[in-house]
């Protein structure tokens, strides 16, 4: 699994860049499998850290996406809306999902570093019936 060091991570498996660009982690896309549909709140919507940013559908499951930071959605990646499987191919690049203009940039420092998130993801990968 890849967790770039220049990103911050939420324990809800989202990454975020300093400029507010966000998406799902490599762990998430591998864990969920092929992403069939992505639905994101429209640009201009205010989102709160830990609350719903949108939803993704995989196989027969709908999973909600939780905003890693609070702010206002400034952009949604139309490309992943049209072709969600891009997220599986390139979760940190072309597969970005939205850009959030942060209302409280200090929230970034509360998020996990690459190595901290790696431990969270690893904990979800072991000792579980459903893995």
């Amino acid at each position: 699994m890849i967790y770039p060091e220049n990103l911050k991570y939420s324990d809800k498996h989202m990454w975020v860049r300093e400029d507010g660009t966000t998406g799902v982690t490599d762990f998430t896309q591998k864990f969920l499998g092929e992403i069939l549909k992505v639905k994101v709140q429209p640009a201009g919507t205010a989102v709160e850290k830990g609350r719903s940013l949108g939803e993704i559908e995989v196989f027969k499951q709908i999973t909600d996406l939780r905003a890693p930071v609070s702010g206002t959605i400034r952009a949604v990646n139309a490309k992943v809306i049209r072709e969600p499987a891009i997220i599986n191919r390139d979760p940190y690049g072309e597969g970005w999902i939205a850009v959030i203009e942060m209302a409280q940039p200090e929230e970034l420092s509360e998020l996990l570093t690459s190595s901290e998130y790696e431990k969270v993801a690893a904990a979800h990968s072991t000792v579980n019936l459903l893995n």
């Binding site: 809800k12 864990f31 969920l32 499998g33 549909k37 639905k39 719903s52 939803e55 559908e57 995989v58 196989f59 027969k60 499951q61 709908i62 999973t63 909600d64 939780r66 904990a123 979800h124 072991t126 000792v127 579980n128 019936l129 459903l130 893995n131």
Partner: protein, 262 residues
């Protein structure tokens, strides 16, 4: 190679958690049943279940387009409502021959892991019912159970925050001609030929199958360590040491594929 954590759980006593039946007044109203699914998912405080059925209706997965999946003119002609649920998956025709079960997990015990695996593991109520009636089954990925190559059950899931619902269907004595006249074959739902359980066991009425399923869900025990489910037992009561009995299952355990539908 086993992880250190895996070593730990082999030596510690797992916590036993029972699935709790939802206390509700039974209804066959499809709108009410869908509302209840969403409500229970948001509110249960312990792993819970219910077994239910709805009168004639078509229920779509959250992101499906009704016009692509359903012969809407036929639905109007039959006065059948077309509704939408919170979970993913395809279009389902409901009537009083189609049995449904739902398992709700609160945040501290929501299953994690690959979706296809959890779909399979949490389909245990269907598998146990088929085994009760001595009907051989096979698993058709990602979410179907088949008998003689014909689909008899499907399932879907939704996760919201850390809350989780898994629900599945079992065709017991559904009006298959009506099902086939309502659901389109070229929609996003993968169309596969279907069959009723009553074809293999004539004494199996919906009420009787529902009773069998409820009984086994009431006897289901989740073996947990911290907030992880290690295994599920839906068979006879395990021994007093708390060790899972022979019926214990896991994603890698008892329930192996038994071939696939063609």
């Amino acid at each position: 190679m086993r992880s250190v954590a895996a070593e730990d759980h082999s030596t510690r006593q797992p916590r036993r958690v029972r699935l709790v039946p939802i206390q509700e007044s039974r209804t066959h109203n499809p709108r009410l049943n869908i509302d209840r699914e969403a409500r229970y998912m948001k509110t249960v405080e312990e792993p819970s279940f219910r077994v239910w059925s709805s009168s004639d209706s078509v229920v779509l997965g959250k992101f499906l387009d009704a016009g692509c999946e359903v012969h809407l003119a036929r639905a109007r002609e039959l006065d059948i409502p077309v509704l939408r649920r919170k979970s993913g998956g395809g279009a389902v025709y409901h009537d009083l021959g189609n049995l449904n079960y739902s398992i709700y997990f609160p945040g501290n015990l929501a299953p994690i892991g690959p979706v296809e695996n959890s779909l399979r593991v949490l389909s245990f109520p269907i598998i146990k019912v088929l085994e009760h009636y001595r009907i051989p089954w096979s698993w058709l990925p990602p979410n179907n159970i088949c008998v003689n190559g014909l689909k008899i059950s499907g399932s879907a899931q939704a996760r919201s925050g850390e809350r989780f619902i898994h629900h599945g269907t079992l065709l017991v004595s559904t009006k298959l001609d009506r099902l086939n006249s309502l659901l389109k074959r070229n929609g996003r739902s993968k169309w596969v030929p279907v069959v009723n359980l009553s074809e293999f066991s004539q004494e199996a009425t919906l009420d009787e199958v529902a009773a069998v399923m409820e009984r086994l869900l009431r006897h289901t025990i989740l073996y947990c360590e911290d907030d992880r489910i290690l295994s599920i037992s839906s068979g006879p009561e395990p021994d007093e040491t708390g060790s899972p009995g022979e019926e214990a299952m896991s994603g890698k355990g008892t329930y192996q594929h038994q071939g696939s539908c063609s």
